[in-house]
């Protein structure tokens, strides 16, 4: 199965990655190799088999809805490049 350049651009858009024209050919080649390898799964008969999402069959643990963490905003925001008045700033969002 082959991926087209358009497929690669579409996947990149979903993944918020930027693929330049010069890089597309390499992505098409390598992703096709990987997808060819994983295509082996299509032949496997999985009728009546339930999907396994978690190896130990656990379900989400719940706890009481009470706050347990303290506000450490300044500590956490020390890792952001652009913070003003405790708010993360970003470039223009809306046209």
């Amino acid at each position: 199965m082959g991926l087209s350049d358009k497929d690669v651009q579409h996947i990149a858009k979903l993944a918020r990655l930027e693929v330049s024209d010069g890089q597309i050919a390499d992505y098409v080649e390598k992703l096709t190799q990987i997808l060819d390898m994983v295509d082996a799964l299509k032949e496997v008969d999985t009728t009546e088999v339930l999907p396994l999402a978690h190896p130990l069959h656990m379900s989400q643990r719940l706890r009481a809805d009470e706050p347990t963490e303290k506000n450490q905003r300044d500590l956490f925001q020390a890792n952001a490049e652009d913070v003003k008045q405790g708010l993360y700033t970003v470039p223009r969002v809306i046209e």
Binding site: A15, L35, V38, T46, N79, Y88
Partner: protein, 490 residues
């Protein structure tokens, strides 16, 4: 070159033969001498280490020391360490100073461990050769032109070269066991959920697990006792008591059974590796165990299943890197879309981007059922098949890798070739089972690893088998000839 185990160092510290400060200084000196060529460390924490060593010495003097008090150790750079860089081997986090400690880090600190630094790794734990790191490849101390394996290559190389007696690692598809096999040391991955993932940067959430790189199974047992346990902060943490692994190592193997899957001995297995594995199995027979042949017909599907599930989970986990709250941010983006795509394009390396793309594709509309859902079903087949073995045998054994360490640059341009390295280790992660790799011989001058696999929460059984093997053989005492020029030798 002398390399003492955690157990031996612990005895020496408690008898006053040497101090933690002396051990730490020696570790730091060895790192300084070896790291320019090995590149095993991304960050060395000399000041913090000496402060911790002095505190450990005070504790030792007061008689309140535990078995790990004062022992130098390195953490794979995937574990958050408060106040220190945690890079995950990536440009994306090359500026990330963690505001908190991972549970693994705080538990080991509470046990008295002295952290000397953060080790190099494949970027975001994606790789089997430690060649995808933004900080450059790690070299194998047994042959500097070869890979130490990955993704915990830095931790493995550091322990193999005697720079530290122990290091932490993570294993999602083999990333502790395979580097342990390539560098002739003991690599232990516990059952999924046995060790908390809080503060361990996520790659594939249903597969990732923290573990140890040490010279011996006994050392792994000592570390696991301190690292394992329920953590309310990790929603996948298992609520199970932690056995005293280090006091369960000597139970006899007489009457125990080892299952050996015939699929592990296919044409892909190097003949020297096969001989070393067969010899190792003979040792277990001498120790009183019985060998049974098994078949795992779905084993060959492990690699394709993993390379759908893991990239899918990684594409979701790595969506948090958007340049805004932490991590690499592309300067002067004109709008939010450009900020996202440029930060991610520039911050991530090629293999990480390939896996994000693969994962995005298999989860996307129109492909989800054929790929991801199908992979989850095949995962159940593989997992059930492996776990069913334990109804008849105590452990499963075989080679850890199909070949010994390959050359740097040999497979990095061929992703599928690189992925096939993990053929023997991956099923263990798909099943969430515990696994250990121990040195069992050589292929020429390169170490060969024997893999033992256990049932869920069968850590004590695995460590018991491995410890007996290490009492009968001395492969785990072999060290590479590295000129460290540090003046001191312990």
């Amino acid at each position: 070159m002398d390399r003492l185990t955690v157990s031996q160092l612990s005895a020496g510290l408690r008898s006053g033969e040497f101090s933690s400060e002396e051990l730490t200084r020696q570790s730091l000196a060895r790192i300084e001498a070896a790291n320019p060529s090995l590149n095993a460390f991304i960050t060395v924490m000399a000041e913090e280490a000496l402060t911790a060593a002095r505190a450990a010495d005070r504790r030792l003097a007061s008689g309140k020391a535990g078995p790990l008090t004062g022992i130098p150790l390195a953490h794979k750079d995937i574990f958050c360490t408060a106040g220190t860089l945690t890079s995950c081997g990536s440009r994306m986090l090359a500026n990330f100073v963690s505001p908190y400690d991972a549970t693994v880090v705080s538990k080991l600190a509470d046990a008295g461990i002295v952290v000397v630094g953060k080790t190099n790794m494949d970027e975001f734990a994606m790789g089997s050769s430690n060649e995808t790191s933004y900080f450059g490849p790690v070299r194998n101390p047994w042959d500097m032109e070869r890979s130490p394996g990955g993704s915990s290559g830095g931790s493995a190389a550091a322990v193999a070269a005697g720079l530290v007696p122990a290091a932490t690692g993570t294993d999602t598809g083999g990333s502790i066991r395979q580097p342990a096999a390539f560098t002739g040391i003991t690599g232990f991955k516990p059952t999924y959920g046995r060790v908390s993932r809080y503060g361990m940067v996520a790659f594939a959430s249903s597969l990732d697990q923290a573990g140890t790189l040490t010279a011996t199974a006994e050392d792994a047992a000592l570390l696991m006792e301190a690292m394992a346990g329920f953590d309310a902060r990790d929603s996948t943490s298992a609520d199970q008591a932690v056995p005293a692994y280090s006091s369960m190592l000597d139970e006899t193997l007489a009457g125990k059974t080892i299952g050996v899957p015939q699929e592990y001995f296919d044409e892909g297995l190097d003949s020297d590796c096969e001989r070393a594995i067969r010899d190792a199995l003979d040792v277990f027979v001498d120790l009183g165990a019985k060998i049974t042949e098994l078949t795992l017909p779905h084993l060959a599907l492990s690699v394709p299943t993993y390379y759908i599930v893991a990239p899918a989970e990684c594409s979701s986990n790595l969506s948090r890197y958007d340049g805004i709250r932490f991590g690499y941010r592309h300067p002067d983006a004109s709008d939010i879309g450009e900020l996202y795509t440029r930060s991610r394009q520039e911050g991530f390396g090629a293999e990480v981007k390939r896996r994000i793309m693969t994962g995005t594709y298999v989860l996307s509309a129109g492909y989800y059922d054929a790929y991801y859902l199908q992979a989850q079903k095949v995962r159940r087949l593989i997992s059930d098949e492996l776990m069913r073995c334990f109804e008849d045998v105590d452990i499963v054994a075989g080679p850890t890798t199909p070949t010994p360490a390959f050359g740097l640059g040999e497979k990095i341009d061929d992703p599928v070739q690189m992925y096939l390295n993990d053929i023997y280790t991956i099923a263990v992660n798909l099943a969430g089972a515990p696994g250990i790799s121990i040195p069992c011989g050589f292929s020429g001058t390169l170490p060969v690893g024997l893999q033992l696999i256990g049932p869920h929460f069968g850590e004590a059984t695995l460590l018991n088998f491995a410890h007996h093997y290490q009492q009968q053989t001395d492969w785990h005492t072999k060290t590479p000839a590295l000129a460290l020029n540090d003046g001191a030798d312990k």
